[in-house]
């Protein structure tokens, strides 16, 4: 967690969209930005350069206020996927509360997916996070393209891990919100265990997830 100040009543959570270069992480955030009501979020900040799309990271912040008055800020980051930007990836991963791994469904990207996932596990360990316990969801993106790995093959690949799996096309804007909601739920579960979100702050998993992703789900719960 980036920041938790019980006295000031502020909690800042970090979620990270990880994955190989060009798998669609930035596009996921762009879609979330477009699909979710602006009342509960800030603006998307894209740090780019002329040469490449993401050499630093992108940031999309969300807000929700718990019935206790606790202000929760959810900062969603993307990492640069290129192998050479590993240092930046580590810095972004620092103190992450949850990770969405965005894989590219195309058959020819399978190796890149595997390499990037390995890199994720390594880096999590390096920044002191337990890959086995950190909230994690996996999204196979670009399902709209031809030449993609079949769903069954993907399911059987990940089945034993028990990690929630989503199929999406960020380009066509489906599967994106579902992935994000699942990430919010698993992250909530982990945070509730350590920070008593429901017992101390009166914030249920559904209120948390819906408040951040569904328009006008829980009146009075959302900030601004």
């Amino acid at each position: 967690m980036i920041h938790y100040d019980t006295e000031a009543g502020i909690m800042v959570i970090k979620l990270v969209y990880y994955g190989p270069a060009l798998s669609g992480k930035t596009t996921n955030l762009l879609r979330l930005h477009d699909l979710l009501p602006c009342s509960g979020r800030g603006d998307l900040m894209v740090l780019d350069t002329a040469q490449e799309r993401t050499i630093y990271f992108d940031l999309l912040p969300f807000f929700i206020t718990a019935p206790s008055g606790l202000k929760i800020k959810v900062k969603v980051f993307t990492v640069p996927g290129q192998v050479k930007h590993d240092a930046t990836r580590k810095a972004v991963l620092q103190r992450a509360d949850g990770v969405a791994f965005i894989a590219d469904s195309q058959v020819r990207e399978s190796l890149n997916n595997a390499t990037s996932f390995e890199n994720l596990e390594q880096n999590l360990a390096l920044v002191g996070l337990d890959p086995g316990r950190l909230p994690l969801v996996i999204q196979y993106n670009k399902r709209d393209l031809p030449g993609i790995v079949a769903e069954d093959a993907i399911r059987s690949l990940w089945w034993s891990s028990g990690v929630p799996l989503f199929f999406a096309s960020a380009l066509e804007a489906w599967g994106v919100v579902e992935t994000f909601q699942c990430l919010l739920r698993t992250t909530y579960a982990a945070l509730d265990a350590t920070c008593c979100l429901s017992a101390r702050h009166g914030l249920s998993m559904e209120a948390f997830t819906c408040g951040l992703t569904v328009p006008d789900a829980s009146p009075g719960m959302r900030e601004r």
């Binding site: 920041h3 350069t49 912040p61 050479k84 620092q94 390096l126």
Partner: protein
């Protein structure tokens, strides 16, 4: 940052407003906005404590915030969170719309500064704290990073200039909005009055006609009675009636009555025409685009202006045979009005104004306004279509006039040019397409 993995830097750590803004960023902005006539411009945190502020003259930190009677605030947003406010206040004299407008300008400027600075800081922090790479990689990344940082720095540096540009732009837009609002409300008022006047006017007109008929019948009847009396041989009675008739000046009255009626009818008809010209001029009854006869529109405009035209002004209309054109009538009349009024003001006595309309080409008409006023000096001709540009005394309400002409004519798809030499009058030439529907 020695051993691998011991990274102390965390991307995304919370930042305060004072982390991303500095005094040198905001003070010039606050100072310049106070220069527009405010009592105070400040940036305050969420508790309302001033972080930076500027008041005219005195700027000692910690001085009491003088709160003007008019107040405007704008939120400052840092990565989606409201972290402070731009706070402007002024005395009672200020136009509240202007204050609101200034608050918007400063709010926008501060927010884009926050955004730019935040990006720049994140890039710089990554740059200095994170990198653990081979020397070559480091060099390469340095190059990319500094290119990017340079980009953001340039952005920040140009920001103040951009703000100034935008301020001028917005000020003009604001003035034009005021002018347009004024025009719209005058037009609406005129149209509303025209409606109110039309009702009583139409019964005055029809009653006058009936009255004339009745009076004619009454006088006929009186004449008939007198004739009968004379024939009855009752000379005494007839003589008394005759005397009475002379005493009451009945002959004169009967004569005068028809004059009175025709004058009253003519007067009422004139009121009716003025009202309908006013309605026509405001084009309130029409769709935005309509087919209109430019010759008639010019006559209407002259009639609306008639009270402003001095007796010694000589206005010559040379109207050619021109087709109906499609355009925004209200705007066009406003353009004509401003040009004619400009001529009237440029030469209050002895004005000679020639208005000529003609077919110019297959699908364009021209309208020429040529006056014998003092003319427009060569060096300012290019600027007269700018807003605020005026050679009239400040406060006479002019200055917007020719800009409005320019905008109106452009939005009808036409052009307006001026040709003038000092002391030789001015010639305005408006060219309008026959079909002036623009997509705008």
């Amino acid at each position: 940052m020695t051993a691998q993995g011991s990274i102390s830097f965390v991307v995304g750590e919370e930042k305060k407003l004072t982390d991303v803004l500095s005094e040198s960023d905001v003070l010039p902005l606050l100072k310049s906005v106070v220069g527009a006539g405010l009592d105070l411009a400040a940036i305050v945190d969420m508790t309302g404590e001033p972080l930076w502020f500027f008041v005219p003259g005195e700027t000692a930190p910690g001085a009491m915030l003088p709160l003007g009677t008019a107040l405007e605030c704008r939120p400052i947003i840092l990565s989606g969170d409201i972290v402070g406010r731009v706070h402007l206040s002024a005395g009672e004299g200020i136009d509240p719309a202007l204050l609101r407008f200034l608050a918007r300008v400063v709010g926008d400027a501060v927010n884009s500064m926050v955004q730019t600075n935040l990006k720049r800081m994140m890039v710089t922090e990554l740059h200095t704290k994170v990198v653990q790479m081979s020397y070559d990689e480091l060099l390469e990344k340095n190059r990319q990073l500094s290119a990017s940082e340079q980009k953001y720095r340039e952005l920040a540096e140009h920001l103040e200039m951009r703000v100034q540009e935008r301020t001028a732009e917005l000020k003009q837009a604001y003035a034009r909005m005021l002018q347009q609002e004024k025009m719209a409300s005058v037009g609406q008022l005129a149209a509303g009055m025209a409606h109110e006047i039309n009702n009583p006017l139409s019964f005055v007109l029809s009653n006058l006609e009936t009255l004339e008929k009745y009076v004619r019948r009454l006088s006929e009847h009186a004449g008939f009675c007198e004739g009968q009396l004379r024939q009855s041989g009752s000379d005494d009675l007839a003589g008394r009636v005759e005397d009475r008739r002379r005493e009451q000046k009945i002959d004169f009255i009967l004569d005068d009555l028809s004059d009175l009626f025709s004058q009253s009818l003519a007067g009422a008809e004139r009121v009716k025409k003025i009202v309908s010209d006013l309605r026509g001029f405001s084009h309130i009854d029409e769709a935005e685009y309509s087919q209109l006869d430019v010759n008639i529109e010019i006559d209407r405009t002259l009639s609306v202006l008639s009270s402003e035209i001095p007796a010694d002004a000589e206005i010559t209309r040379e109207f050619g045979a021109i087709p109906l054109i499609v355009c925004r009538g209200a705007l066009l009349c406003q353009a004509f009005l401003n040009i004619i009024r400009n001529a009237l003001q440029a030469k209050p006595s002895g004005l000679k104004l020639l208005i000529r309309t003609a077919m110019n080409s297959k699908d364009h008409i021209t309208v020429v306004f040529k006056d014998n006023g003092p003319g427009i000096a060569q060096d300012i001709q290019a600027r007269i279509f700018e807003p605020f540009f005026t050679t009239h005394e400040v406060g006479s309400g002019m200055g917007m006039g020719l800009k409005v002409v320019y905008d109106a004519v452009s939005s009808c798809g036409g052009t307006v040019t001026v040709n003038s030499r000092e002391d030789h009058g001015a010639v305005f030439v408006i060219t309008l397409p026959v079909n002036g529907r623009t997509d705008e």
